[in-house]
């Protein structure tokens, strides 16, 4: 009795909002919390206020510093991501086509997936020197294994009946992969791509901070790092905010859209 009497009142306190609006309200609340706490703390060297951070963001956007850093980071990220996807596709295709390939993929992913990409940075520096190539190398590493693992798991999980139905209508070889295996495994492939993107983004930002020398070519990670050493804390937070905003934008605009037009529409969500 008391439960049912309480429930409707509790629900009436908060207006019913869609998921997007709910998210916006929460974001505003978090920003407000940040602003109030930072003002109360009153030490902008440790924690700038939200508004100071926004101002720093605006300033760095206006003077062209931040756009240039973002461009440099995204260029590396996209190359690494693309190379990672191609390699993952090759490795998975090999694993689908023959047993040796399957064992190879299993072995390589078991060995390299647990290895943090940053741990490979010294090796990368040794092989490629300081610069884009080393960053691309660690980015590829961070994308390749989780993606190959997800794709392979997706292919293996395609139901036997669906496979037989595909071969029944005459699909063989590449047509079988393109018209049956890939769409059937799409939920796993998409979540692998999503995961790979997140890993690549994190790895890249972290790796850029280790790179001291090539400042002119540096990306977002470098921007954050140099501003910290110059005690420009508002700029550090502006850089972090940019990292978050780009991650959110890709998540909601690219992956959520891809999901909505494919696996969600087909009722295939894993």
């Amino acid at each position: 009795m008391s439960d049912s009497a309480l429930a409707p009142t509790a629900r009436h306190v908060l207006p019913t909002l869609g998921p997007g609006a709910r998210r916006l309200v929460l974001l505003v609340a978090l920003a407000l919390g940040w602003e109030l706490y930072a003002r109360w703390l009153g030490n902008s060297l440790l924690l700038p206020t939200f508004l100071e951070t926004l101002a720093a963001l605006w300033e760095n956007l206006r003077n062209g510093e931040l756009p240039e850093r973002v461009r440099a980071s995204l260029a590396i990220l996209l190359s690494g991501y693309a190379i990672g996807i191609v390699l993952a596709a090759l490795l998975t295709a090999l694993a689908v086509l023959n047993r040796w390939g399957e064992s190879l993929l299993g072995l390589l992913t078991a060995m390299f997936n647990p290895l943090p990409a940053i741990a490979l940075l010294p090796v990368a520096l040794l092989w490629f020197g300081i610069g884009g190539s080393s960053l691309i190398f660690v980015t590829v590493h961070s994308v390749l294994w989780p993606l190959a693992l997800a794709c392979h798991a997706g292919f293996r999980a395609v139901p036997a009946t669906l496979r037989m139905a595909g071969r029944n209508i005459g699909l063989t070889g590449p047509a079988y992969i393109v018209h049956l295996l890939i769409p059937a495994a799409l939920p796993s492939i998409l979540s692998g791509l999503r995961l790979g993107w997140a890993f690549a983004w994190r790895t890249l930002i972290a790796a850029e901070m280790v790179f001291g020398a090539s400042a002119s070519e540096g990306g977002l990670g470098w921007f954050i790092f140099t501003n910290r050493s110059q005690l420009e804390t508002a700029n550090v937070f502006a850089g972090l905010l940019t990292v978050i905003l780009i991650g959110l934008a890709v998540e909601t605009f690219v992956f959520a859209t891809l999901n909505r037009f494919t696996v969600q529409r087909w009722g295939q969500e894993a």
Binding site: M164, I169, G170
Partner: protein, 288 residues
Amino acid sequence: MGWSPERDAPAAAVPPLSVERVTLRYHTDAGVVTAVEDVSFTIAAGERLALLGPSGCGKSTLLRAVGGFLKPSSGEIRLRGVPVRTPGPDRMVVFQEFDQLLPWRTVAGNIAFALRRARRLGRAEADARAREWAGRVGLGAFADAYPHTLSGGMKQRAAIARAFAVQPDILLMDEPFAALDALSRRRMQDELLNLCEETGATCLFVTHAIDEAIHVGTRILVLTPHPGRVGAEYRVSDDARERGSAAFGALETEIQQRIFGTLASRPASGREGRAAHAPDAQVIAHVG
């Protein structure tokens, strides 16, 4: 037989499907399982052979072998005289499971895609035919629906439409209605029967339900389990096809006794009393 698989051989002489002394084994980690042993039969054009037997007796295994998904350990399966090696759209399969439609294509899309791949039709023609077939199985209003929005019975209808649309030499059906409720099952059996009679399709229909075998099949092959062998063969007369008719009941009792007779190991009694039980059923052969 004296025929050879030449193109000018008279169509009547070469049966659409012949299964000759086929044995099927699974090689598992636990050892070799013989699912089907030394099974032979042929299906003539326009015939509907119901493969009847308790679950686990190797019906699906046999159907998969005919479909080209499984290689016989010995014996030969021939389609219009040509040995079956690989799967192909000349033998369209309707499976029991509901997940046989491509989830990323609509009902019409599934049928049209099969037509494009199997019959090499152009997009427009494949789509037109697909819609026609969706209509024929009562899915006209759902032609643009994705499979996950359909009920189990509707998915099976779509799969049946896809199989018929391709116009294979033979239709292979593996208990397509087994997972449906009793009412839908009856309706679908009637609809399937109508489609078969309209198109004159040749079918191999697997089922574990005696009434379904009698209603759908023109001939019934009873498989005995472990390993699956041909136990008996019955021809279903037209009046026995009518559910509830005396002939239907007699044949049902007859087959029931045959199957339970085997299971309860009543050796000869079932075999001798048969003619008295089922005057309308033409018993063609008893093997084993």
